[in-house]
């Protein structure tokens, strides 16, 4: 079974985000970029399926700017077999919306015919949490989102999902879309030899036009602003002082 894993290049999760003074967006120039952490988990899961003999080939796909090649090389170094870059913008500040991404992925899925697509549950930049579900809708496939455990059993995948009330296990018919949550696995680091080897793995470059998809946004970004700041608080010296403050000053006890 072939497994397809979409990966996104995003601001590194350790970087403190700065909103541009003119409200036009977030400053991404000269900022450390990495693979979206949830997508790393998705790549890792695909590799584990391959190590178990369930997956036969792992194809990583990234849709974005040319620099996403680095993200794909990371996926290849971790263990993906080949990669497809769909260069959808030249502007590093442009974010291709989940709907357009899902449409491109749908076309790639129709070409590649994977038995399973594993996405990250959300990208830590736009925090949309949508691409996997949208892809499942466009393909008419089932979806198992927010996965913390995945087992492929014959024609089905049995997936445990992290939901508001705890955990839910569902069985979805393959082919299906799984989206990875934080506790699905701990992604490996690529070793130096594997990073070298990844440079020789095949990477195809495509454009949205190759798939007949219009990536123009449906949502116009009117402005981007700083969130409300919290006022600085006070330090207390003891539990007694804390209790007194909470009772008398804050009135919350």
């Amino acid at each position: 079974m072939k497994v397809l894993v979409p990966v996104k290049r995003v601001i590194d999760y350790n970087v403190k985000v700065r909103v541009k003074a003119d409200g036009s967006g977030v400053d991404l120039a000269n900022v450390k970029m990495s693979m979206n952490p949830f997508d790393e988990i998705a790549v890792e899961e695909a590799i584990r399926l391959k190590e178990k003999g369930v997956a036969t080939e792992i194809v990583a796909v990234s849709i974005g700017v040319k620099q996403a090649t680095e993200t794909l090389r990371t996926a290849l170094a971790m263990g993906a077999d080949r990669a497809i870059l769909v260069e959808a913008s030249e502007d590093v500040h442009a974010d291709i919306e989940p709907l357009a991404v899902a449409k491109i992925l749908k076309a790639i899925v129709e070409e590649e015919e994977p038995g399973l697509v594993i996405c990250g549950k959300q990208a830590i930049d736009n925090d949309m949490n949508a691409t996997g579900q949208m892809l499942a809708a466009l393909l008419g496939w089932s979806q198992a989102t927010f996965a913390s455990e995945v087992a492929v059993e014959g024609e089905n995948a049995v997936v445990t999902r992290e939901v508001d009330g705890g955990l839910q296990t569902i069985k979805v018919k393959l082919p299906a879309i799984v989206t990875a949550d934080l506790r699905l696995n701990e992604p490996r680091y690529a070793s130096l030899p594997n990073i070298m080897k990844a440079k020789k793995k095949p990477l195809d470059a495509k454009s949205p036009a190759d798939y007949g998809v219009d990536v123009s946004p449906r949502l116009e970004v009117v402005k981007t602003s700083e969130p409300a700041e919290r006022k600085a608080g006070v330090m207390v010296g003891s539990v007694d002082e804390l209790v007194a403050k909470l009772k008398d000053e804050a009135g919350v006890l």
Partner: protein, 308 residues
């Protein structure tokens, strides 16, 4: 303008708080029809009919809608979508599962986690773990939104909207429910509690997490946790607060042994009063805390439990 609101229904019961908060947001957009779907949803429909701002309730009961599987629930919503300008739901895990699927089936973009409504087409939402707020204007004919419940007050109850039943469309059964692992708890629900006590990696073990729970119980609070505490097995996944866990905004949030990573702050920094207890005086959590106490939690927490 007309709004179809997917009510939050769990095992036949209406999750009143989440639904009522989404109703407040939806009512700013137009006339609200609440949809209660499930294997059993009639009782939830009765409860939704009482919410102020709901002008009609649709009840869809069908075995295929049990456990709110995304495929059947999305198909139902799409079958009803024609008459509505907006399709809205509280941003619960169920709705985050279903609504993007609905949006794609309608060929529109989903707008997730809406924290403010500017006008019928324009919405505010947090991005980058809440480090920025984006205002977006939708060019789509229909808008599909999930609502960040922590930023809207719950609608009251005094209404008596008419209730109608609707049928679920037929479709292939692509997914099947196997089991739920839900821990029963007498504590208030995390996302609606007035007080939340959260523990982090500093608590050190599942055993010692009882200290956090004891303080919570004394205060009648819900219990939360950082990702590190959940990953380490000290606390169950549904206690996680943060960018990718639950978003809470209680009157009082007490963070214990939590460093204050941006991903955690994303889920709690709209709380009214924040208390931090941490032995490291440089912990970033102190930058958002109204009251900070530099102390060893193993001494401070039992003492606090005794004195509140």
């Amino acid at each position: 303008m007309t709004v179809l609101l997917l009510a939050e229904v769990n095992k036949g019961e209406l999750a009143v708080d989440a639904t009522a908060k989404a109703v407040t947001a939806a009512a700013q957009l137009g006339e609200v029809t609440a949809l209660c779907a499930g294997a059993h949803a009639a009782a939830a429909g009765e409860a939704a009919a009482k919410l102020d701002g709901v002008s009609k309730v649709l009840v869809a009961e069908d075995p295929s809608l049990d456990h709110r599987l995304a495929e059947a629930t999305a198909a139902l919503i799409v079958s009803l979508a024609d008459g509505y300008d907006h399709i809205v739901a509280p941003a619960t895990t169920d709705a985050k599962n279903v609504m993007p699927r609905v949006a794609a089936l309608l060929d529109v973009m989903v707008i997730s986690d809406v924290s403010g409504i500017v006008d019928a087409d324009t919405f505010e939402r947090p991005i980058y773990a809440g480090n920025a707020v984006q205002t977006v204007k939708s060019k789509d004919a229909k808008k599909v939104l999930t609502i960040r419940t922590s930023t809207f007050d719950a609608a009251g109850d005094g209404g008596s909207a008419p209730v109608e039943t609707v049928a679920a469309p037929d479709g292939p059964a692509l997914a099947e429910w196997v089991e739920d692992k839900v821990a029963a708890s007498d504590r208030p629900e995390l996302t609606s509690a007035g007080v939340v006590v959260s523990g982090g990696r500093g608590v050190g073990s599942e055993e010692d997490f009882k200290l956090i729970e004891a303080l919570a119980d004394k205060l009648g609070a819900a219990v939360g946790a950082s990702r590190a505490a959940v990953d380490s097995g000290y606390a169950p996944n549904d206690w996680q607060v943060g960018q990718t866990g639950k978003v809470v905004a209680p009157e009082l949030y007490i963070a214990i042994g939590i460093s204050g990573a941006i991903q955690h702050l994303a889920g709690m920094k709209d709380s009214k009063v924040i208390v931090a207890i941490n032995k490291d005086e440089d912990a970033p959590i102190f930058q958002v805390a109204d009251y900070g106490l530099v102390a060893d939690l193993f001494q401070a927490v039992p003492e606090l439990t005794e004195k509140v």
